[in-house]
Symmetry: C5
C-alpha cells in the first residue's frame, strides 16, 4: 500500500496500524490492496470509512458485472480488467474502487499483475497533473488505466481474426474454425465487460454526490469516448467473425461442390466405358456345346476391326461427355 | 404457517381460527401457504385483508408471467421460481407474495419443495437483520431467495453447455445436438422468467406506496443487480449455444467434405484402372471363327511384355493422380 | 341486437325503428351487429350518435390493423378476433367496438360465430358485476372475451409445435418441415394481431376522455397483463419454431453425412477389390499366337496357390480398410 | 397546371405569365408540375413564394429519402411514389409538395404517369369535401393519393410471394429462388420508402406552423394509420420471404439427402455383387502351363451347382441389404 | 495555410511568425494543416487559442471514432474522410476541425489528398455565400465537403455489389464470394464512420455555445439529411450483401444438388448393367475338368439368342430406370 499527497509518501505492506495514520485532511490517500488474501485490512477500512457491507461483498465475490453505486459518502465502482499473461492468454481480474472525499481505495483480485503500474509510475515521477489534482482525478487515472489495458487485448484479438481470415481464404480447416470459435467466445466475454463499462463512466460523469469535480469530468469525458470506442471495436470484430463464419460455411460448401464435380465427371465418363468393356468381356460362346455355330453371339469379337472400332467408339463417348461437361461449366 | 416478530413464534398447519389471531400491531406476520390445495385459507385472508379478486385469480392460475401490482394497501408480486429436483431436472413453480403493512403472505405452487427454506432458517436462528427489520425486508429476503435459486440452475446449464462444446469439438453426433437443443429450450424458458423479474424488482425499487422503506430499498438495489446479472448469464449462454449450433453445422459440413474427399480420391484412382483392366478382359479373338488371323484384335495380349507394361502404366496413372490430388490439397 | 340495463331486455333482429327507442338515460345499451350485411343500421347509428365517417369506413374495410381512436364523444376500437372453426382451422374476423356514454356498439365481421357468447351468457344470467357496472365494464368484458379467444388458438399452435418437435427428432421429413413452416406463418399472423392489441389496451388504460372509469381500469390492467402474456407466448413459440427449423437443418445435414459415410465405406472397400478381380480377369495369353511361351504374362494365374493367395490378399485389404475406417470413427 | 377554388378553374400548360394571376386571396391554388423538364417555372415560383434554395435542390435531385421540412411560410414534403407500369414493373418517382397559406405546389418526377389523377377527378367533379376545404386538405388528399398507390404494388408483391411459396413447396428451382430474391429486393426498397413516410405524416400531424388545421389533422391521422399498415405489410412480407428462403434451403437439403440415399442404396447393393461377379471372371487356370492340375484354383467354376449356387448367394446378399436399408428407414 | 476574409488572402507554407498576424477581428481566418508532420504549428496554435490538450491528442492519434466536443471557446470536431486513390482503393483519413469565434482550424491526416479542394475553389472564386458568411458557414462547408466525399465511394461499392449480384446469378465462384466478403467489410467500416457522423451533425445543430448561427444551422439541417441518407445507403447495401450471401449459399446448394442428380442417374443406370455384364463374364465351365457336362453352369451362354436377348434386357432396364427418374423429376 502507499499514500500520496502533494508531497509524496509510499509505504508497502503496511499493517492495520499504519492505516490509522493514513488519512490526513487536505491530502489525497490511495490505498491499493493487491489480491484478496488480506480481507482483514479491507474489513478494517470498511468499518473506518463506513462502507456498505453489500459493496464489500461485491468486492470479495469476483466475477461481478461492472457497475457503479453511489452512496452518500463515497462512490463504489466495480470493474473487470483484462491483460495478457506470459503465454499471451487473456486473463481477467476484478478491480474495485472506492472514491471518497480525499481518499481512493482500490482492490485488485490478483496479486501477481498490477494494472495500476502506469499510474504508480506517474505518481512517483510527479509528472503530469496527477499530483496536483484531487482524489477524483486519481480515480479517473485508475479507471483510464483499466480501460487502456483493453486496447492491446482487443488489438491482439483483431490481429488474430485477420490472420484467421487469411487462413480461411487459403484453406478452410477444422483448426481455423475452432480458433475462430475461440476468438468469438473471447469477444462475447469482452462484450460483457465493456458494455456496462460505458454506463459506469457515464454515471460518474453525471455524478451528483459532488465527489467528482468538473476538472476530472473533462477527463472522464475522454474516458467515456474510449469506452464507446472499445464497444465499437468489440462490435466490429464480432461482425467480422460472424462474416468469417459465414465465409467459411460458403467456402466449405464450394469445396464440397468442387469435389462432387470431379467425382461426377470421372464417374460419368468411366462408368459407361467400363460397362462397354464389361459387355465385351462376356463369355457368350460362338459355338454351342453341341458344336453348332451361334452366329448371333457377339459376332463383333470375331470382326477384323472389332477391337479398333470399339476403342474408337469409347474415345468418342469420352470426348462427347467432356464437351457436355465443359458446356455445363463443370470443367 | 408461522408468525414472526421481535420475539419469534412459529405455527404450522394453522387453521382459519389461528389466522384471526395472527395479526398483531407493531409486529411482522408472515403467512406462508405451501401448495395450492388449501384455497379456503387464501380466500379467508383475501376477505380479511381486502386483496383484489384478480390477484387471487393470478395466484391460482399458475404459469403467470412474473409481474408486480401495486394496490393502495399492499403490493402483489408474482414470480416463477426454479430449482433442480432429485433427478437434476429443472422444475419451475409459481411463487406469489403479498406485502402489506406489517404482513407478508407467500403462496408456493408446490408443497414438496420450499424455496424459502434459507429465510426460515435465518428467522429461526435470529441471525442477521431479518428479525430486526420490517415486512419490507422480509419480502426482500423472500425475493432474494427466489433469485438465488436461479444461480445453481443456470450454472448447471452453463456447465452442460461447456461439456457439449467439448463433445462437439470431439465428435459431432445426433445426441450432442439434441442435448444442445434441450439446453437452448431451457434457456428460452429461463429468459421468459428472468427478463420480467428485473422489471418487478425495479418497480419495487421505485415503489410509491410507502410500503418499502429506504433501508430495504438499499438491499433491493443489490437484488436488482442480481437480476441484471442473471439476464447477462442467460444471454451469454444463449449466445454460446447459438455459436455452438453454428459450430456444429460447420463441423458436420467439414466432415461431409472430408468423407467426400476420400470417396472422390479412391473412386478417381480406381475407376479408370478398373476400366483398363476391363478392356483387357474383353474377349476379342485373335482368330476368326473361320480360322483367319485377326492381327488388330488386342495384339497387346500376345506381347511378351504386355502384362508387365500394363501394370507399370496403371501404377503410373495412380501416381500421377495422387500427385494431382496432393497438389489440389485434397490429401 | 339486444339492450341491457339493470333490468334486462333483449331484442333480436331489431329494425331501425327499434333503434330509436333503444337509448334510455341511466341505462346501458349494447347494440351488437353480427356480420357486415346490414350496413343500413350501422349508418343510421353513425348519424344518430355522430360517429366519424372514417371510423365507419374502418369497420367496413376488414383486415385493419388493431387500433384505437379517441374522439370527444366516444372511443372507437378495432380488433382482430381469432377462433377455430369446425375443421380446427384458424379463422380471423374483425371486431369493432364503439364505447360511448351509456352505450356500446359492437360489429362482428362474420355472422356465423359469436365471440361475445360468454358475455351474452353472463348478461342473461345476471351473474357477476356485469349488470351492475357501466358501459365501460361491458366494453372491457367484450375486449376480454376477444383476448380470451386467443388462448386456445395459441395453445393449439404450441401443442402442434411440440408434436412437430417430436416428429423432427424421430425422422425429419418434407411433411414435418412444411407443417412447421405453416405454424410459423400462423405465428407471424398472430404477432401482427397481438402486438398492436397491447397498445390498444394501454391507450384505453390511459384514456383521457373520461369514458373509462377507475373501476373498469382495474380490470383493464388485468386485460393488459393478458395481452403481454399473449405476446410472450407468440414470441416463445416463434423462437421455438426457429430453433426447430435449425434443428431440422442440422438433422438433415447429419443424415446426409451418415449416408455419405456408408457410401464411402462400401465404395472404398469394394472398388479396389473389384479392380484386383478385374486385373485377374484380363486375358493376357501365356502363349503367343505363334506358340511361344510368354512367361511374364500373368504367371500368377498358373500358380498352384494363386487363387487362394489372392483371396487372402483381398480379405487382408478389406480388413485393413475396416480398421482404418474404425480408427477414423466412420463406423 | 390548374387552379382550384370554390368555383373551379383549370388551366393546362400555363406559362409564367399565367402564374402571376394564379394567386388570389381567399382561394386555394394548386400548381402541379409534371416532370422535371420545366425548371424555369419552378424557379420563378421559388422566387415569388420565397422557397428555400435547398428545398428546390432536393426537388431536382431525385432519389431523396422521404422527408419533411417546416419553414416559416410553408411546409416542404418530399416523397417517393410507386406504381406499376404497363409491363407490371414497379416504377418509383419522387413527388415533392409545398404546402403554404392558400396554395399547394406539387412536382412529379415523371411526366407520363399522374399519381394525383384521383384527386384531380374529385376536384373536377366537386364530390366530397375537397372543394369546400382549404389547402391543407388538398395536401392531405395528395399525400393520401401517394400512399394509396403503395397498396396495389405491395399487394402484387404479396401475391407473387404466395405464388413463389406454392412453387417452392412443389419443386425448388433456380428460377423460383431468383424470383424470391427479386421480391426481397423490392421489399428492401419499399421499406426504405415507407419507413420515413410515417415520420413525415407524424410531423405533419404535430405541425406547429399553423398551416395544417384540426380538420385536416383528423384525416391525417387516418393517413398515419395507413403508413403504419404499409410498414406492417412490408415487414410481414419480408418475414415471409426470409422464411421461404429458409424453407428453400431445407427443401434443397432434403432433396440432396434423398438423392444421396438412392445413390447409396443402389451402389451398396450392386458394388459387392459386381465384385463377386468379377472374382468369378478371373482367369485362374485349372491346369498349369506344364499341364499339371491345379485343384485349388477356382474349383467352384467346375462344380455342377456352382453357377446356380452363386446366383442364389447374390440374391441373398441383395435381400439382406434391402432389409438392412429398410430397417434404417432409407427406403 | 491560407487566410480568408471579405477580401481574400491566401498564404501557403506559412511559418509560425505568420500565424501571429493571422487573426484579425471582424474577419474569418481558416488555417488548414495538411498532414501531421508539422506538429509544432499545431501546438503553437493550441497554446495561442487555448485548445484543450486532450483534443490535440485526439488530432494526433488517428483512427478516432467521429465525435464532437463543445468547449467554452470553440467546438472540436473529429471526422473520418474517405476517398478513392488512383488504384480505386478506398482510403480513409482523419480530419479534425476547430471552430471558434472568427476562426476555423482544420487538420488533415494525409498531405497528398485534399478533401477540402472544392471549398478552396469556392473561396478563391468568391462564388456563393461562402465569402459573405462567418466561420460557422465555413465549418459547415468543410463538413459538407467531407460528407460529399462519401457518396462516390458508397456508389462505387453499390455498383460493385450489383456487378457481384449478376456474377453470382450467372455462376457462383470462389472469387465472387471473396469479392462480396470484401465489399461487406468495406461496408462494416463505412458504417463505423457514418453512424457517429449523424450524431456529430446533430450536436452541431443543437449547439448551445452560440458559435453556430441560425443561418448556418439551416444548411446543417441539409447536412444532417445527407448523413441520414448515407446511413440509409450503407444499411441497404449491407442488407443486399447479406441477401446475396444467402443467395450464393442456396445457389451452391442447388448446384451440388444438380451434380448429385447427374451422378446418381448415371451411376444408377450403369452399375446394375455392369453387374449383369460381369455375371456373364464369369468363367463357370460347361464341362468339368473330368469332362462331364455341367448343364446348369451358365446355359445362357450357349443359347443361340443369348447375347441378343441379354442386350435387349439391358436396354429395357435402362429405359425403365430413365422413366422412373423422369417421374421423380430428376431429369
Amino acid at each position: 500500500m502507499r499514500y500520496d499527497q502533494d508531497r509524496f509518501e509510499e509505504t508497502t505492506h503496511a499493517g492495520i496500524a499504519d492505516l490509522e495514520r493514513a488519512f490526513e485532511p487536505g491530502k489525497v490517500t490511495w490505498i491499493n490492496i493487491d489480491g484478496l488474501g488480506d480481507i482483514e485490512v479491507l474489513q478494517h477500512l470498511a468499518a473506518r470509512l463506513d462502507l456498505h457491507p453489500l459493496a464489500i461483498e461485491d468486492v470479495l465475490n469476483t466475477g461481478q458485472r461492472p457497475k457503479i453505486e453511489q452512496s452518500p459518502g463515497y462512490v463504489f465502482i466495480c470493474l473487470q480488467a483484462v491483460h495478457h499473461d506470459h503465454e499471451r492468454m487473456i486473463r481477467g481480474e476484478q478491480v474495485s474502487l472506492f472514491l471518497g472525499r480525499g481518499f481512493v481505495i482500490s482492490v485488485q483480485e490478483e496479486a501477481d499483475y498490477d494494472v495500476f503500474e502506469p499510474v504508480c509510475a506517474r505518481l512517483r515521477s510527479g509528472r503530469g497533473q496527477i499530483r496536483k489534482s484531487g482524489a477524483d482525478y486519481l480515480a479517473y487515472a485508475l479507471l483510464d488505466s483499466v480501460i487502456d489495458h483493453y486496447y492491446p487485448v482487443l488489438e491482439a484479438i483483431g490481429a488474430q481474426v485477420e490472420d484467421l481470415e487469411d487462413a480461411l481464404l487459403e484453406k478452410p480447416s477444422r483448426d481455423t474454425v475452432l480458433m475462430l470459435h475461440g476468438q468469438r467466445r473471447h469477444l462475447t466475454q469482452m462484450r460483457r465487460f465493456v458494455w456496462p463499462l460505458r454506463d459506469v463512466v457515464n454515471s460518474l460523469l453525471h455524478d451528483s454526490t459532488g465527489l467528482v469535480g468538473s476538472h476530472a469530468k473533462l477527463f472522464l469525458r475522454d474516458c467515456y469516448d474510449h469506452t464507446v470506442q472499445l464497444m465499437d471495436i468489440v462490435e466490429s470484430n464480432r461482425e467480422v467473425t460472424a462474416a468469417l463464419m459465414e465465409l467459411y460455411h460458403s467456402s466449405v460448401g464450394l469445396r464440397t461442390n468442387e469435389i462432387m464435380r470431379v467425382l461426377t465427371v470421372i464417374t460419368s465418363i468411366f462408368i459407361p466405358l467400363t460397362f462397354i468393356a464389361g459387355v465385351y468381356g462376356m463369355n457368350f460362346a460362338p459355338v454351342s456345346i453341341e458344336g453348332n455355330k451361334l452366329p448371333l453371339n457377339m459376332p463383333e469379337l470375331y470382326h477384323p476391326y472389332g477391337y479398333i472400332g470399339l476403342m474408337a467408339l469409347m474415345g468418342l463417348i469420352a470426348l462427347v461427355q467432356l464437351a457436355l461437361f465443359r458446356k455445363m461449366k463443370w470443367l
